[in-house]
Symmetry: C2
Subunit: 147 residues, 2 copies
DNA sequence: AACTCCGATGTTATATCATTACACTAATTG
DNA sequence: CAATTAGTGTAATGATATAACATCGGAGTT
């Protein structure tokens, strides 16, 4: 299924850009970072992303309209169900999977005779570091949104 | 948290539009359906949607960039975690929740000290009726994507 | 009533995200 | 070499969402 032809220059550049960045990047943010490499139009980015998404090397975060390099590209060939936790303060992303959760979704699908094609799970909130630092949104933290 | 002031005219119109429709609607589709009621600009829709999303009467489906009326508006005040199954063929949406799944997410969050604010779960695939009808995408079905 | 606050509204313009259409290149394979 | 297939470059456009600004109207004052 996942055809493993080598990455083209554009695909490699886009993947490198995402891998080098801690945070998700929008397609246009990727474009801006690659202008020095000759990128000029959004399509150059979107086309590379299409391929990288197909092969599971990159994920799209719908809730952010942004893209991240896969944290575990070797582990799944784009098959497994993955959940993302996204810090609203620092924008970092944690990628994890849970077989119990997968089982429950499968059970629901079986009961409803629903044929699952793709599952998107995104959790927004505050990561541990940002909570400690008293990032906005943490209840009980002084000095924020007082009025 | 969920303040229950009555809906304004614009909010009520947007909610009625979504409730009357079996499928999710984009903001611009809602706008078009409400031009007869005097709607002229996207903001009129987006502002009503903001309120309806806050109160949990409407959900946004990130994967479709579209909005649906909540199927169980009385049950949760916008608090519970809900999963959506979306048929790629007929566009209908099933809304369900599963306490085991919620528990697993909570367990992950606790272990990582992550403060969850919102959870988005969207499953794309084919519903039972569309599978039976041989909708595109169903493997083993004759007459589709032969070449 | 006059005053103030706040949420909602109407309108224009603009920002952001994504795709269509078309012409062309390069590698693969019969 | 012809045919096929993926990829590329460019311009134009479509689709989704928000910013900025002026105004309105109800609720609670004083």
């Amino acid at each position: 299924m996942t055809d493993h032809r080598p990455l083209t220059r554009n695909q490699a550049l886009v993947l490198e850009t995402l891998t080098a960045c801690e945070e998700p990047l929008s397609a246009y943010a990727i474009l801006d970072r690659l202008r020095g490499e000759g990128f000029r139009a959004p399509l150059q980015v979107y086309r590379a992303l299409d391929k990288l998404l197909q092969t599971g090397l990159v994920h799209r975060l719908d809730s952010l309209k942004a893209f991240v390099a896969c944290a575990h590209p070797h582990e799944h060939g784009g098959e497994a169900t993955v959940a993302f936790a996204i810090c609203e303060n620092c924008a970092r992303v944690w990628e994890f999977s849970d077989s119990t959760i997968e089982d429950r979704f499968e059970a629901w699908a079986k009961a409803e005779n629903f044929l699952t094609r793709a599952t998107t799970i995104e959790i927004s909130g505050l990561c541990a570091a940002c909570r400690e630092a008293g990032a906005p949104g943490e209840p009980g933290q002084p000095g924020e949104r007082g009025a």
